[in-house]
């Protein structure tokens, strides 16, 4: 038997090195290598090619469409998240747990199924399809369908961030404000909002990243009209399928940059404002 003076809860050095090497190489090969490849391929033919792929009209149209869709979907889901968290955290009613489960539901639905349901409601063979066609209203293969699909896949982000945070914070401060004569709006703006602002920002950040990057759901409802209904991720697919790898990876690099900025801001929020985020994100 070897001598053992080390703490019983401390792993021996060889095990530390082994597990550390396994963890780092797994993350390196699985996560970092694809990221490195995106930037390498995007710049493989030089900065000039990269730049021209970026400012090509169809790419710019895709960027614009993605920004518009996220610009509508994210604020709507933010308002919903605040409203849902307000009624769930500040009031008692029956069926609350069930309501929380329903709000989480879109996370466990396949993105393709998320797109499919709107086709079944608004498509030509769907519930409202013929009526919409008679009145010349375009939902599928147009902006409204893309917005709907984006709303569905990003539905729970803000709500699930705010609900545990506001349940934790309780209702004493708001009740005190109300007792002192504050109106509902004053209570929300001056008492609740300062308490939840970083949690709200955290939820909006993740919601926005997913909204700009969603592929499956939007792919089903978009119709893939180049320069018209192609969002950034769909444009990546179109370029890739047409063997325009430089173009595909140029747009992909833009999306990857966005993901990295999101990750950096998210990590910053987790470090700087840990106490003001939902308990699950505290380090």
């Amino acid at each position: 038997m070897t001598k053992r003076f080390s703490k019983p809860t401390e792993d021996p050095l060889w095990l530390k090195l082994l597990l550390g090497a396994v963890a780092i190489s797994f993350i390196g090969v699985l996560l970092l290598l694809p990221l490195a490849l995106v930037f390498t391929e995007a710049l493989a033919k030089g900065l000039v090619t990269f730049w021209y792929a970026m400012i090509e009209p169809d790419s710019l149209a895709a960027v614009r469409l993605s920004l518009i869709a996220a610009g509508i979907a994210v604020p709507l889901n933010t308002v919903f998240g605040v409203a849902a968290a307000w009624c769930i955290a500040k009031f008692d009613f029956t069926g609350k747990t069930f309501l929380v489960t329903l709000i989480d539901l879109p996370f466990s639905v396949s993105p393709v199924v998320a797109g499919l349901i709107y086709v079944l409601v608004f498509g030509m063979q769907g519930w409202f399809g013929p009526w919409l066609a008679d009145h010349d209203i375009h939902i599928l293969f147009a902006l409204p369908g893309i917005v709907l699909a984006t709303i569905f896949v990003t539905f729970p982000f803000v709500a699930r961030e705010l609900i545990p945070l506001m349940v934790d914070q309780g209702r004493d401060e708001e009740e005190a404000a109300a007792t002192l004569g504050a109106t509902g709006l004053q209570t929300f703006l001056r008492v609740t909002l300062p308490n939840i602002k970083w949690g709200l920002l955290y939820g909006v950040l993740l919601c926005n990243a997913r909204a700009l990057g969603e592929f499956g759901a939007v792919s089903v409802v978009s119709g893939h009209i180049r320069g018209v209904t192609n969002t950034m991720p769909l444009h990546v697919q179109l370029l890739y399928d047409n063997y325009d790898y430089a173009g595909a990876f140029a747009v992909a690099a833009l999306l990857a940059m966005l993901a990295l900025v999101t990750l950096a801001l998210k990590t910053l929020l987790e470090w700087r404002y840990a106490d003001e985020l939902a308990a699950s994100h505290r380090h």
């Binding site: 019983p8 307000w86 466990s108 393709v112 709107y118 699930r160 509902g184 699950s280």
Partner: protein, 285 residues
Amino acid sequence: MSAIGLKLSMPQKKRKSRHVLPGFRLSLGFTLFYLASLVLVPLLALVIRPMELGPFGFWSVISTPRVLASLRLSFGVALAAAVVDSVFGLIIAWVLVRYRFPGKGLLDAVIDLPFALPTAVAGIALSALYAPNGWIGSLLIGYGIRIAYTPWGVLVAMVFISLPFTVRTVQPVMSELGLEVEEASATLGATRLQTIARVVMPMLAPAVLTGMAMAFARAAGEYGSIIFIAGNIPAVSEIAPLLIITKLEQYDYAGAAAIGVVMLAASFVMLLALNGLQSWAAKRR
């Protein structure tokens, strides 16, 4: 999720008469309206649609070899990916919680990359990486191993997309464990291996299973990161979500909805299993 479940299941003071705070009806009304019109009613359309096929028609859509193969691939490989991610998720969480080393914060932040990176970007990157002429694919092809355009490619994409779920569910539970129980176990004469197997692992089990279930659910429904690397050969490497899109493009709405209902039913079962796991974990604490 666990935090919500815990809080809500606690008995709360009943406020019988009037609410002190304003806005209950407005916020609950808006929440229910928004939820119903954007999520519940469209999902109802999905459940109702295959009914026009009748039970036999529904079964004949689902039981074709191509559909069965795609469901088996999506769910079977998702299960394999969830197991792989649970094993490596456990190791990564252990390294991040127990060890100190430079660059740890960066490594921790990188875990969430699959959440943040759009799936289409992950898809083309993985495909280019594991293709026979790619950085990894060209190394493996020498040994006769093909990843891209085979079911192995599906596995790689699913392992990629689901890793954060397993790490992020185990990590917080692990850091709350406290060393006292391990010290007690060692003091009572247990070897390190016995302590890990009989003391630490049982305490982590609910979190590991929860992470595995979440990873499985995400992988089974995943589309964007898979279709580029899978090659999409019918009955070999064609996933169920892709078959839904194929049926839609052939205007076979009822057939697409039938596969969609099977996938939705599976995610419901997973959601119930997750809730069960969480109440089990809450009771053990």
